[in-house]
Symmetry: C2
Subunit: 422 residues, 2 copies
């Protein structure tokens, strides 16, 4: 059997998992591994430390290496490294969602020119098989919608808030202690990580190039205990959802918290688990659920890509058609202000009989029908929390209404606006 | 682009869906369709009725046809037809689980000899992508367990029994009226359909040939309203589970009802939806959920297979390595008597103080520890239902205990034995 030689860039959690699992497949040989600190004490079974290098260019420029496995993360110097590897005719397997979201276009264009492929199953939802099914066996479908829980950190935090009735800050603290959140959690809790994944997944699902910068993004840092509680009372759970829909004007792509009906599968995905719902024709709804991160689940996808590539390389020559990305046209991305949604809105109002009338009037004036209006008890300062759920309304109208509301005498504060999944 | 010519055998629900969806892909041309009754009035958009034939051999012997799509079902004359097609060098796409379970070995052996492939994504769980992911992107994994709800009819019946508290007979009647159960429901309700699917899925998951006749099978016809109710009280749902585990002695394969903890994803798969949990190393648990049957979901998988095959054929020559089945070794299949499980057992006992003692003594003598013993109210004839849940016990011991119990004076009847998923 023809041996495939790989070089691995990065020997952190994922890289170590990949190295260990590759050891089970004699047709794949790990020739070299680039690490940050060559003097670090390591204790990895089966690792001959003489293959380590602290110069990753020794991998991308090594003429004996067929496949470069990039599990280092970050944009620099990864972008430079992978560009060089591609120029040197090497296939790429990467778990780097940020790099692909930011520089995928250039990388895929050079890959095409150089007759190599870039595989990235691990970049979206870790161990869950989603990229390969969308590219292959679901190919008969026109995808209509994606809705995913694609960030384990935020789902863990929201789950803890829901189960234990604790605040965002407390839940984040627990997540950090357990290693589910990084010391600087911004990339996760502000939704950047989910945006990168959505950019990648929506590009292959809708066969269009996607600009991650135009994806609307809202994190979970402003979700209050009270929102979680009200959601539960009304039969919902709050989840950070990566949403993609094809609508008349183009692709509607966004990452933000959502009310999800409690009986839906996505509402019941708890802890660090990820889950992606794909709705398409003719398949209907299919849901892929599993571990979205971690050494071993991510290694499953990285090594899966390497094995598939090795199998194809054994018998076929480029273009390995099942593995290519074919889309070249850029998506028209719809501004969130142009989209229609249902909304949960929480307001603090002065506790007098007119408040609900004012809310109703201002909403009505902005073409917003309300389906639920609830007063949630009064505060010491003679204010009350009022919660409304709207019927389907235009985002622009809702934002206009909020601006009017906050100007009115009886509305003291807009506490929350969370979109509702229908 | 090179055109691929297909011939479709069968123009029922699935065949019609496949024909319609294929119409969207100009690279695939439907040359001929074999139907049962050529004179039947049809009204299918885009169908030129001159391509119909009532002689399916016109398809399998047609030199212009590259791919034979078999969506007729049944074993005869399908087996003969596909053998002929393979001998004539045609690739096969089929949704026929029964045929593959019963004659897969001969078909795959001839396919190998003739340098063609057999694709069958639609044969297991309809529209859910499971065969392709297991064959490709999950290839780094050692599969440890499969647990699937793979039959929509029985899941619908069990869901209705759970939600509405009705009997099996009533729920079956509703399922039949809604078209979810066939006039003769035996294949579904007795678990045959699930056995065929499990045989196919476990073969590719464990890379061994599987004998469907050795798969232990129990249907849902004996599930009582009372079992459903007790399961709910104890925090479980009853599901018909296709289970596969690799254990020390070999492959443990079976289809039978199970108690599933209510907070597990599989317990919350309701109605005709299918769901398959795969547990492997390194991926951990991944769950695939979606429509397990129906015109359009099944067409998604059939056409997905055709498109993937067309893509590969365009650039590669046989053996199309990502599409082949490679296992040739037969599995050692473990007899259910040798397996270990937890059990729910319902007994009717004479309502006297000694009954529970007798049950405990007989179970103890057979190495069975009980974790729950509950009396469920008394009957008019001075008997009572007693329910026990055992700790992990050997099937053979449990069967021995049941034989002893039924011989004892105070046990009047064994109402149910249902295994518990752990």
């Amino acid at each position: 059997m023809k041996e495939i030689n790989v070089g691995i860039i990065g020997l952190g959690t994922v890289g170590t998992g990949v190295f260990k699992i590759l050891g089970k497949f004699p047709q794949i040989k790990t020739l070299k591994i680039a690490v940050k600190n060559i003097n670090k004490k390591r204790n990895i079974e089966g690792l001959d430390e003489s293959i380590l290098t602290d110069n990753p260019f020794e991998i991308v420029n090594n003429p004996d290496i067929d496949v470069v496995v990039e599990v280092m993360g970050g944009v620099e110097p990864t972008f430079e490294l992978l560009k060089t590897a591609i120029n040197n005719g090497k296939h790429i397997v990467t778990a780097n969602k940020e790099l692909l979201a930011k520089h995928g276009r250039e990388l895929f264009e050079s890959a095409k020119e150089k007759n190599v492929v870039i595989l990235y199953e691990a970049a979206v939802a870790g161990g869950i098989p989603i990229i390969m099914p969308v590219k292959t066996i679901l190919g008969a479908n026109k995808v209509e919608q994606l809705a995913g829980i694609v960030n384990g950190t935020t789902n863990y935090i929201l789950t803890k808030m829901t189960e234990d009735g604790i605040s965002y800050e407390q839940a984040l603290k627990e997540a950090t202690e357990l290693g589910y959140a990084e010391t600087d959690p911004t990339g996760d809790v502000e939704g950047f990580d989910a945006v990168y994944k959505l950019a990648i997944l929506s590009a292959i699902s809708f066969n269009k190039r996607v600009d991650y910068k135009k994806i609307y993004r809202e994190g979970i840092t402003k979700i209050r205990k009270e929102d979680i509680l009200t959601a539960k009372e009304l039969g919902y759970r709050i989840k950070l959802i990566a949403l993609a829909r094809e609508i008349a004007q183009g692709l509607d792509l966004r990452v933000h918290p959502m009310f999800v009906k409690a009986d839906k599968l996505l509402a019941n995905i708890n802890g660090v688990t990820n889950s992606i719902l794909l709705k398409g024709f003719p398949v209907g709804e299919v849901v892929f659920t599993g571990a979205g991160a971690g050494e071993m689940p991510t290694a499953s996808s990285v090594v899966g890509d390497i094995l598939d590539l090795a199998t194809e390389l054994k018998y076929s020559s480029y273009p390995l058609p099942l593995m290519r990305c074919k889309h070249e046209e850029s998506a028209v991305q719809v501004d969130i202000n142009e989209t229609y949604n249902e909304y949960y809105i929480s307001l603090t109002a002065s506790n007098n009989p007119g408040a609900i009338g004012v809310i109703g009037t201002i909403c009505g004036r902005n073409n917003i029908n309300l389906s639920v209006v609830m007063q949630k008890g009064t505060n010491d300062d003679n204010t009350a929390e009022i919660v409304v759920i709207t019927e389907t309304s235009k985002e622009q109208d809702v934002q206009n209404a909020l601006r009017e509301l906050i100007k009115s005498d009886c509305i003291k504060e807009i506490n929350s606006l969370i979109r509702v999944m229908n």
